[in-house]
């Protein structure tokens, strides 16, 4: 009797069965992504605070607004937007540049 050979190596499980892991559609995921982007773009509620400025700083805010409008065609900007953008930029500068930042130099010198 002939000795049995090893069976041929077959693997039917490698045939596609079209199963899905993500049980959602592109449209469903995209709609949620759009909702997330819109939520990020929505302006956050503003809190009212009061700081006193010297007159030239008040004038500077007006000057910025005027220059943006006349020289750069920026129509939709108000005083609050300008003050807020300036403060946030000053913080970024302070965090990135530390002692060489504008605020550290300005007030470091004033203190010394």
């Amino acid at each position: 009797m002939a000795k049995s050979k090893r069976p041929a190596f077959v693997f039917p499980e490698l045939e596609s069965r079209g199963r899905r892991t993500i049980l959602r559609t592109t449209e469903e995921v995209s709609a949620e992504l759009n909702a997330l982007h819109e939520a990020e773009e929505e302006p956050k509620e503003r809190v009212k605070v009061t700081y006193r400025f010297q007159p030239e700083a008040v004038e500077a805010v007006e000057d910025i607004r005027r220059i943006l409008r006349r020289q750069h065609g920026v129509r939709k900007v108000n005083r609050e937007d300008i003050a807020q953008a300036a403060v946030l930029e000053a913080l970024r500068d302070l965090e990135s540049n530390g002692p060489s930042s504008f605020l550290a130099r300005e007030f470091g010198e004033a203190a010394s």
Binding site: E13, S16, V29
Partner: protein, 262 residues
């Protein structure tokens, strides 16, 4: 493209356990770093194997990838820790198991990792993602965030089970969340050329890849007890004993990756 402002993001994925996903992710990351690349290793497996391989206590982590995935105020940069091997790690621990449930409540849950990685993309040339042995939301997140997927398959009959399911999942991810996802290649691991089974499986894999137009890495990773020993030395094998065959085999794979051949 590596070296430009956008890194190449490689997911090391296979839902089968014990196929050397973590070994491949850790050693490939270490070799990319040795080649002077800026690399981040992201551990998306709740077993936290990457941190363990690098000698970190996963229970002592102040923050992990879990925090970045489920807490809106925590970014990837907040959880990244530098390693002793010139690359960064976003470590995981068992907390990440909870993210499987918590992420399902999130909007566009499949894309959380992709969105969280955006702020750190310009800091790295490569981001390597180690994925869990499942096809759940953590793996889907990893595949959605990736440019390419590297599939380690141990050269044994049982490991072929699920390859088709993984390929179907990759197709599914391309359709729904990441049309640009490419298969970098299939890497045969734990290959033992002394056994007929290993040789047969490898040959079958070679024919399958040829038929399906998939890249099979010409370099196999041979079975070696050294891979199991390396975590005990808290060092990737390719650094701990670069003279060993296993290290040289991963070196060949890394060269193929760096040269952009895959």
């Amino acid at each position: 493209m590596a070296g430009a402002s956008q890194p190449t993001i490689i997911a090391v994925a296979n839902q089968k356990g014990g196929v050397a996903k973590t070994t491949t992710a850790v050693n490939l990351t270490a070799l990319l770093a040795l080649a002077g690349k800026r690399v981040l290793l992201v551990d998306m497996d709740p077993q936290g194997g990457c941190a363990v391989c690098l000698g970190m206590d996963t229970e002592a982590l102040e923050r992990s990838i879990y925090d970045a995935l489920v807490k809106p105020e925590v970014g990837i940069a907040d959880v990244v820790v530098p390693t002793a091997f010139d690359f960064d790690l976003a470590p995981a621990n068992i907390d990440l198991a909870g993210a499987e449930i918590e992420l399902k409540q999130a909007l566009a849950a499949e894309t959380v990792l992709q969105r969280k990685l955006k702020p750190v993309l310009d800091k790295y040339d490569y981001i390597v993602i180690d994925t869990p042995p499942s096809l759940g939301i953590l793996t889907v997140n990893s595949l959605t965030a990736a440019d390419k997927v590297l599939i380690p398959i141990s050269a044994e009959y049982m490991a072929l089970r699920g390859l088709r399911m993984l390929l179907d999942t990759l197709e599914n991810v391309r359709e729904v969340t990441n049309p640009g996802l490419k298969i970098m290649g299939i890497l045969a691991t734990r290959y033992d050329g002394r056994t007929i089974n290993s040789r047969e499986v490898y040959e079958y894999l070679r024919e399958f890849c040829e038929r399906e137009g998939l890249h099979l890495f010409p370099q196999v990773i041979k079975q070696s007890v050294r891979f199991a020993e390396a975590p005990g030395y808290q060092t990737p094998l390719v650094i701990w004993r670069k003279d060993l065959d296993g290290a040289k085999q991963y070196q060949k794979v890394a060269e193929e990756v760096i040269n952009g051949e895959v």
